[in-house]
Amino acid sequence: MAKLSKSASKKAPKKKRSNKKKNNASPEELLHYYQQMLLIRRFEEKAGQLYGMGLIGGFCHLYIGQEAVVVGMQATAGENDSVITSYRCHAHMLACDMDPKGVMAELTGRQDGLSKGKGGSMHMFSLEKRFFGGHGIVGAQIPLGTGLAFANLYRKDGGLCHAYCGDGAINQGQIYEAFNMASLWKLPVIYVIENNKYGMGTSVERASAVTELYKRGDSFGIPGEQVDGMDVLAVKTAAEKAAAWCRTGKGPFILEMKTYRYRGHSMSDPAKYRDKEEVSKVRKESDPIDNLRDRILSTKVATEAQLKDTDKDLKMIVTAAAEFAQQSQEPDPAELYTDILLEA
């Protein structure tokens, strides 16, 4: 933890590195976050392997490095809350408790995938878990998520929406149309900007005239905070504050998560826009899983042996998902013509 706080305070603008170090989680919660983040990492590593073997087609965008963001956010999720994100969505589904087997089988395009093999890596949904995709058009999920929040307010069900986008998407015009209406109508939505420093191959500095993305709501009266997105507890604290804001009828809130992806934008990205040292430095100094692990060990929440067992269990879950995803059959050809329209 000491390592992280050093690197974080060095990079952080003095102003608003909020919610820094308050330990707001019980031992059980800490272990749960650790387990969730590690599940995501092992799952994504496996997905990368399967992609390399030709078992996953098309695009495949991995979340490795960013695990603390979605796990910290979901730590605060309430009953009628929903989640919507971009195409970098596997982790969000796992964090919403969707079945790793169903997610992996969708990646391989099989009939037991969450979308029966018809959606693929970028397009998965679960009404039951209130996960609304998985959207392939950069930025489109922000108005959609704003609409989910509109439905929360319309029904007065106390729910809110976590609408995620990246630092690349944040320059899309439709996001500001949504910001305006969300603020005008006081919609309960937390906009989570996952700033992993690169929109595909273009750094934030080369894409954004103002790089402090948490300020992007200023024109609409939406408060924003920058958060250490490599620290699951900082994320959780920020999420609690934002949720309290939304749930008391004050409207939307923006959280800019400073994070990092270790892999390329997608599996086919050679990532020549950054040098290897940059990646290894973040891995070494700020890895969200290593840091939580250090904290768990130093505070004696668990022993090294216990964490090893956790890792072993997760590997088994992921291996089982991968096997399931390969054994599941391709969809029946008749599925080509189903799910286009519902019977009126």
Binding site: S82, I84, G113, L114, S115, K116, G117, K118, G119, H123, M124, F125, S126, L127, F132, G133, G134, H135, G136, I137, A140, I142, P143, L144, G145, T146, G147, L148, A149, F150, A151, N152, Y154, R155, G173, Q174, Y176, E177, A178, N180, M181, L184, W185, T338, D339, I340, L341, L342, E343, A344
Partner: protein
């Protein structure tokens, strides 16, 4: 010299209006810029200002008069020093001609319309509605459809530009704010892309939004959400969730609004799997199909027509009157040639059919009503009878609805065709502004008559 004041045209499609109120009395002095009267158009009540200085000499059309044609003299302004006799002399002089009808007369005389939702969904022509009807304008029929469905289902709400406090840019949502309140009738900022996305998100969240576009021309800003977010999600989610939403608004040319406000999107949206596309013509169509669209669990594109808004039809009173989506209607039975049309063009096609009748050709006019799914069975049945077809649409010909019908008939009715499929469509140009050029760009009854004769006589 006394000056005649004429009934003004206060909107692109206005042909007549109501003289709601005289603000000045006879004998009052008026200056340029003074409000002299209030005129109620089909869309709003507007203040009418003097453009000349003088004295209001004579009022020719009394306050409260309805149906005053554009360009009818309504008052005389006297210049300084003139007396009322100058007004008398001009008042008896022949007034300016009323504005030429830009809109052909399209009231539904061709057919005793209206059908009830088919009890047997397979029957080609659904049962005709036999209940009570009321003469309503299309805009009233659309409003009633929304109001009835909002009473029936509290998850139905309306959002769009000027739909609430302004009562609708075209007065279609008149009275809805009052009845349903600001939580269900929602004015949006001018951000089509954004509010279309919010609407789709609300549909994901279990509501049934009606999203009004002031015109479908502006929906091009929103077309990504209509297609990528609304139409494809059911498929992409393996059937788990879709978007029950209606996108509605005016489509096609109105009158003299030129290229960017005059496009027909029928063929565009009809190409998209996952959408239903409706283009109503009559009042029964407007009400029965909009109700069906709102009840439908899929995303529905509902293409209205500004020129039709003010036209009156007999509309079924029954709140359960719903027209099945995907069924065409024969508006005029005939034996010699089939004419297919949708929206405003159904009226033009009926005019053409009357003209053809005088020349011994008995045309069958099919109102397509729904463009996706297209009622191919109704078209094929008709062609099996007539062996000839003319397709009519206001939009461009290339890859249009007529092209689709032509290809469909090649596959399904080739042996029944005695002549090539003829297409009457908008000209393959952006819509011009000049009145004469605009008229040239749009399909006319004569074009249909000519095409029908060509397929009948070779």
């Amino acid at each position: 010299m006394a000056i005649q004041i004429l009934m003004p045209a206060l909107s692109p499609t206005m042909t007549e209006g109501k003289l709601a109120k005289w603000v000045k009395d006879e004998g009052d002095a008026v200056e340029s810029g003074d409000v002299i009267a209030e005129i109620e158009t089909d869309k709003a009540t507007m203040e009418f200002e003097a453009v000349d200085d003088g004295v209001l000499g004579k009022i020719l059309v009394a306050e409260g008069t309805d149906g005053v044609a554009v360009n009818t003299p309504i008052a005389i302004v006297l210049e300084d020093g003139e007396d009322i006799s100058a007004a008398d002399s001009i008042a008896v002089a022949p007034g300016a001609e009323p504005a030429p009808e830009t809109t052909p007369e399209l009231t539904a005389k061709a057919a005793p319309v209206t059908q009830l939702s088919a009890s047997n969904p397979d029957s080609p022509q659904p049962m005709e509605y036999k209940g009570a009807t009321t003469a309503l304008t299309i805009r009233e029929a659309l409003r009633d459809a929304m109001a009835e469905e909002m009473r029936r289902d509290e998850t139905v709400f309306l959002m769009g530009e000027e739909v609430a406090e302004y009562q609708g840019a075209y007065k279609v949502s008149q009275g809805l704010l009052e009845e349903f309140g600001a939580e269900r009738v929602i004015d949006t900022p001018i951000t089509e892309h954004g509010f279309a996305g919010i609407g789709v998100g609300a549909a994901f969240g279990g509501l049934r939004p009606i999203v009004e576009f002031m015109t479908f021309n502006f929906a091009m800003q929103a077309i990504d959400h209509i297609i990528n977010s609304a139409a494809k999600t059911l498929y992409m989610s393996g059937g788990q969730m879709g978007a029950p939403i209606v996108f509605r608004g005016t489509n096609g040319a109105a009158s003299r609004v030129a290229a960017q406000h005059s496009q027909c999107y029928g063929a565009w949206y009809a190409q998209i799997p996952g959408l239903k596309v409706i283009a109503p013509w009559s009042g029964a169509d407007a009400k029965g199909l909009l109700k069906a669209a709102i009840r439908d669990p899929n995303p529905v594109i509902f293409l209205e027509n500004e020129i039709l808004y003010g036209q009156s039809f007999d509309v079924p009173d029954d709140v359960d009157f719903v027209i099945p989506i995907g069924k065409a209607r024969i508006e005029r039975p005939g034996s010699d040639v089939t004419i297919t049309a949708f929206s405003l063009m159904v009226g033009i096609a009926l005019q053409a059919a009357e003209q053809l009748a005088t020349e011994g050709i008995n045309a069958e006019v099919i109102n397509l009503r729904t463009l996706r799914p297209l009622d191919t069975g109704a078209i094929v049945d008709s062609v099996e009878k007539t062996n000839r077809i003319v397709t009519v649409e206001e939009g461009w010909p290339t890859c249009g609805i007529g092209a689709e019908i032509g290809a469909m008939l090649m596959a399904q009715a080739f042996d029944y065709l005695d002549a090539p499929v003829a297409r009457v469509a908008g000209k393959d140009v952006p819509m011009p502004y000049a009145a004469n050029l605009e008229a040239l760009a749009l399909p006319k009854a004569e074009d249909i008559v000519e095409a029908a004769k060509a397929v009948c006589y070779g």
